[in-house]
């Protein structure tokens, strides 16, 4: 396993680059996902504030029909899964789904437990803690937020109203937006990141492999083939076209082969001279 130089050189680089790119992509995706969810929650907080401000005058005038119309119109927009206003006791007063009006909300559900965990409900809570994610009855993933409707001097001094000044929260607006567009964007982003990662991996690992092959493995293979030929007795093979740091090695191997060839030639020459001398000595002996 991994005996070849190619595998030994490329495997650690490939593992390191692949692993690091995967870790970075997962972390980046996670950070971007949480940023996008935070943005969606901020958008919902702003939308909830707008709805509360839009209904404020109608509420001051105790104009229930106008409030109901506003809620219906907002709820009919694309992407809005539910809009409801319930009073301090949890009784739904206005809702885009008319069948749930005059029903109580469950205080133990995800959106309510944040404030109603203790015996005394928490009146102030941060934006992110007011948000919740769940799958509704229609099977749509929803990002919902609850916004408290605070008591104001205009509320408890109005002649038509019965709220006293000690009551801090009059009711709560609950609005839920479909998470489908967000999930679709995240899915597209995930796909793009995967393509980008694969391209980075192919480029980096392929680049390293190509450069190693061009500058190390091919010259080494040529030197190996050259030495193998010399070893088999072929003393005049060609070894050229080697550049970079392996030039010196190729030069040394070539010089060794050349010296070996010279030595063999000299040996051959000496052997020839010896045979000639032997022949001469034989001729002389015959003539004598």
């Amino acid at each position: 396993m991994l005996r070849s130089l190619t595998a030994r050189a490329i495997v650690p680089v490939a593992v390191a680059v692949t692993g690091f790119v995967i870790v970075c992509c997962i972390l980046l995706y996670s950070v971007m996902k949480s940023d996008m969810i935070n943005d969606a929650v901020s958008y919902e907080v702003n939308l909830a504030d707008t709805i509360i401000k839009s209904t404020r005058y109608a509420m001051l005038k105790s104009d229930r029909e106008t409030v109901s119309n506003i809620i219906d119109n907002i709820g009919s927009q694309d992407g809005i899964e539910h809009v409801r206003i319930f009073n301090k006791k949890g009784l739904i007063m206005f809702s885009q789904q008319h069948d749930e009006i005059n029903r109580y909300v469950d205080k133990k559900t995800a959106g309510c437990i944040g404030c109603h965990a203790g015996t005394v409900p928490n009146a102030t809570i941060r934006d992110m803690e007011r948000a919740r994610r769940f799958v509704n009855k229609r099977g749509t993933e929803v990002i919902a937020i609850t916004a408290p409707i605070y008591n104001e001097p205009a509320c408890y001094t109005a002649s038509c109203h019965f709220h006293n000044s000690g009551q801090k929260i009059l009711g709560t607006l609950d609005i839920g937006l479909s998470a489908a567009p967000l999930l679709k964007t995240l899915s597209v982003m995930r796909g793009r990141m995967m393509v980008f990662s694969i391209m980075v991996l192919i480029l980096s690992v392929g680049g390293v492999a190509a450069l190693l092959r061009r500058h190390v493995f091919v010259p080494l293979r040529e030197i190996k083939a050259f030495t193998a030929k010399v070893n088999r007795g072929n003393l005049s093979p060609e070894l050229s076209g080697i550049s970079g740091e392996l030039t010196d090695l190729a030069g040394d191997v070539r010089a060794m082969a050349s010296r070996l060839r010279n030595a063999v030639e000299e040996l051959e020459k000496l052997r020839g001279c010896r045979e000639e001398a032997k022949e001469k000595a034989g001729v002389n002996a015959n003539s004598v």
Partner: protein
Amino acid sequence: MAVPPPGRTEITLAMKNQATHSPQPEDAERPPAQKGAQESMEKIRRLKAKASRGLFALALFIAVSIGAVQNFEFLPTFSPHIRAVLGTPPSANMISAALMLYSFSAIILILSRMMSGSGSYSGFSHVGYLTAFFAFYHFSGALDENFWAVFAAGITVLGLESYHIWTFCTEEIKKEQENLAAPARNRGSGEGAGE
């Protein structure tokens, strides 16, 4: 990642010697070549044990990861008082930045150790660091989203560590086996020359 077996008669002979010989007094009488062979055998044994450390660290990390994927439900939960004592956990973004920095530096350190041919191994420390990342994500409530990031970092770092220690030990074992075979080879060539 099995290390190559010795597969030489000298090694088996040396092993037999190692098994049958009793300690100190006989060591003094033993010829230096035999003593050297026994030392080489002992070194090979130690290298083989060291080569498998990478697998143990990986197995330990996978066991911790299985616990993390279950959100450490088998461990007792901290009481609110202990949580208050521990303080607010760092944000998930901070932990992610630390994880990225850790993976980068760990990979660079392992690659530099590979380059220098050092035989040091720190796989078990990495298992500790990665477990700490799991713990931090768990306490900040972001383990579900970041589990795969820690897992990928762990597999990469420990995989590289294992590969490094395995190749290092394999090469060292080969050297020791050549050392063990050298006297026998010399003896063989000497006898050949004598003839």
